[in-house]
């Protein structure tokens, strides 16, 4: 109990001390907070973008087979379906029709997809919220398209997809297979790619190798490979940003080190007074520890909150041009808060702990000196 009261009294004095040097401490707090906010923003943004990408891919097929011609993705004949289905371990194979369409009227890119289950009737489309917004389309409105021959091709909006699926459906236009083929001039018997389901997930690499041997002009892509690619891309991007920010971090460390390690004559005098009136070295160090902790914890918590607001409420306006832009992510969506506690812990140990320790070292030197200097004024 006495120790709690003692710590409380030391904290009272520490806070009063901090308030005395308002300007200096406020400047430090602002810089410190901004550094934490910048680093935490990169961490939050990277983590949540990766989570978004993972969420997008969670329903992705286990194995996608694309046809390659001269190193480019080409339409694939549906005759490949049977060949792949004959491989042991393959549960099912089907062709997919999908592609991108640029609408020059509204300057938007749409993803056109023929759904496997209950596709719209001929002449009808279902559109995502983003498409509905950008094309000002409502149910029963007509959406004009241009075919690959340049002819006008109109489809009627049958429904707008619910807002809850916006992340994965914002730019989506669902249409029938016939309309898709008409629009892009795709002959019968061709698909954009094939998707395969396998009985045992651990067999995917083997099956992929068999497909590549059986159909040398194809490229099988496993879901895990796509995830790994995204991970690598976002790690690389956040690495670049962190490298840029490391300059700011270094400047902050120099500033903080200077502030923390250099005791002013006034501070030395005060330590002398405290020792003379009966504080021991431990009490003085405890005071400095609380001072460093109060300042750095405030900066840490404020910085993390600012980063949260920046990334999840402000759309990470400062960093998004560098970190986003991967084609799987739709042009406009709100990031779902996703935080890696381990990363936060690393940030904590990289900022709060060194600063707090740095404040104690010079104080320890001053506090271990004999207090009689104060007797001499």
């Amino acid at each position: 109990m006495a120790n709690i009261e003692k710590q409380r009294a030391i904290i009272d004095f520490t806070l009063a001390s901090l308030m005395r040097r308002k300007g200096k401490n406020a400047a430090l707090l602002v810089v410190y907070t901004l550094v934490v906010a910048a680093l935490a923003s990169v961490m939050f943004l990277t983590k949540s973008i990766r989570s978004e990408a993972a969420a997008v891919l969670v329903d992705a097929p286990e194995l996608v087979v694309q046809r390659m011609v001269a190193g480019r993705h080409e339409m694939i004949p549906l005759s490949y379906v049977e060949k792949i289905a004959s491989i042991r371990g393959v549960k099912s194979v089907r062709g997919r029709l999908w592609g991108y369409y640029y609408d020059p009227v509204f300057g938007s890119n749409y993803t056109l997809l023929v759904p496997q289950e209950s596709p719209p009737e001929e002449g009808k489309v279902a559109v995502g919220q983003g498409v509905a917004r950008s094309a000002l389309a409502e149910v029963d409105n007509i959406m004009p398209f241009r075919t690959n021959q340049g002819a006008l091709f109109t489809l009627t909006v049958a429904r707008v997809l619910p807002a809850g699926t916006e992340l994965v459906s914002s730019d989506l236009v669902l249409l029938s297979a016939g309309d898709f083929k008409t629009l892009f001039g795709i002959p019968d018997g061709m698909a954009t790619d094939l998707v395969a389901e396998v009985s045992n997930l651990s067999e995917i690499p083997t099956i992929a190798a068999k497909i590549a041997r059986l159909l040398p002009d194809t490229r099988p892509i496993a879901r895990d490979e796509i995830l790994r690619t995204y991970d690598a891309i976002f790690n690389w991007r956040s690495g670049i940003l962190l490298a840029i920010l490391s300059g700011a971090l270094l400047a902050f460390f120099i500033f903080a080190w200077d502030k923390a390690t250099g005791l002013s004559a006034e501070e030395r005098r005060e330590i002398g007074i405290l020792k003379a009136i009966g504080w021991d070295v431990g009490d003085v160090l405890m005071m400095k520890l609380w001072e460093g902790a109060a300042l750095s914890l405030t900066a840490f918590v404020t910085g993390v909150i600012l980063a949260w607001l920046h990334v999840f409420a402000g759309g990470a306006a400062l960093f998004v041009p560098v970190l986003k832009g991967w084609s799987v992510l739709y042009p406009a969506f709100r990031l779902t808060p996703s935080i890696d506690l381990m990363q936060l812990a690393v940030l904590f140990f990289l900022t709060v702990i060194p600063y707090t320790v740095a404040t104690i070292v010079p104080c320890w030197r001053a506090a271990t000196a004999a207090p009689d200097s104060v007797m001499r004024g």
């Binding site: 003692k6 009294a9 003379a276 009966g278 070295v281």
Partner: protein
């Protein structure tokens, strides 16, 4: 009783700028009396006070307080001794700027772990005793010299010390305030405290409250006698 036995203090020992501040000082300071260390500037009064008060250690010799040797105590115990046994009144007051009178007075008791409300109550009582209760929340740098002096005394008394050590307590005071200080010292003596002051101010040295006068010059005791 405080006993100093062959106490010497040498600064920068073994270096070119070695300076002997005290030479084999041996004195006895009786309890519950007022003892004044008298001498010119640089005579070693302040060094002697800081050794008696446990703020620095002698180069040689021993100091005992009521029979207990203090010179070889570890730093932690020495800090406790300073806090619990001695109350210090410094020449420059040495108050901490930027915080209130009340906070300054409470500071020496912080390491004791006393309940905040109790400690605050005691500090306010002390301030009331010196007529400063109404100004408890005032920052110390806004005080007059006399008020600072009284705050410094209140701070010295917060842990109810047996011994008051005052270094040139009238150095920054006019005659009226010096008179007030001597009155306060009389009161503290009546309360049974031992008072040790360093001064070359005749107002202090010739005050009726003084029991013993120890004259120091060049780090040596020239004369030690009961005051006239």
């Amino acid at each position: 009783m405080i006993v100093l036995n062959q106490v010497s203090k040498v600064f920068n020992k073994g270096r070119q700028n070695e300076f002997v501040s005290l030479r084999e000082i041996s004195i006895m300071i009786p309890r519950q009396q007022v003892t004044v260390l008298k001498g010119p500037s640089g005579s070693g009064k302040t060094t002697l006070l800081s050794i008696i008060g446990g703020m620095s250690r002698p180069t040689s010799g021993r100091v005992t307080l009521d029979g207990r040797e203090t010179t070889s105590l570890p730093e932690r115990f020495l800090a406790a001794l300073r806090r619990e046994t001695f109350g210090f009144i410094f020449q420059q007051f040495n108050l901490i700027n930027g915080i209130s009178i009340l906070e300054n007075v409470m500071l020496p008791a912080v390491p004791n772990g006393e309940r905040h409300a109790t400690l605050k109550g005691r500090a306010l009582e002390l301030l009331a005793m010196f007529g400063l209760e109404a100004r408890a929340a005032t920052r110390v740098e806004l005080l007059s010299g006399g008020e600072m002096q009284r705050v410094a005394i209140a701070r010295a008394l917060i842990n109810n010390p047996r011994v008051i050590i005052a270094d040139e307590p009238t150095a920054h005071l006019d005659s009226k305030l010096s008179g007030e200080l001597i009155t306060i010292m009389e009161r503290l003596k009546q309360e049974g405290r031992t008072i040790i002051m360093a001064s070359h101010d005749p107002l202090v040295c010739n005050a009726g409250v003084v029991d013993n006068l120890v004259e120091i010059r060049d780090g040596e005791i020239r004369d030690s006698a009961p005051a006239q």
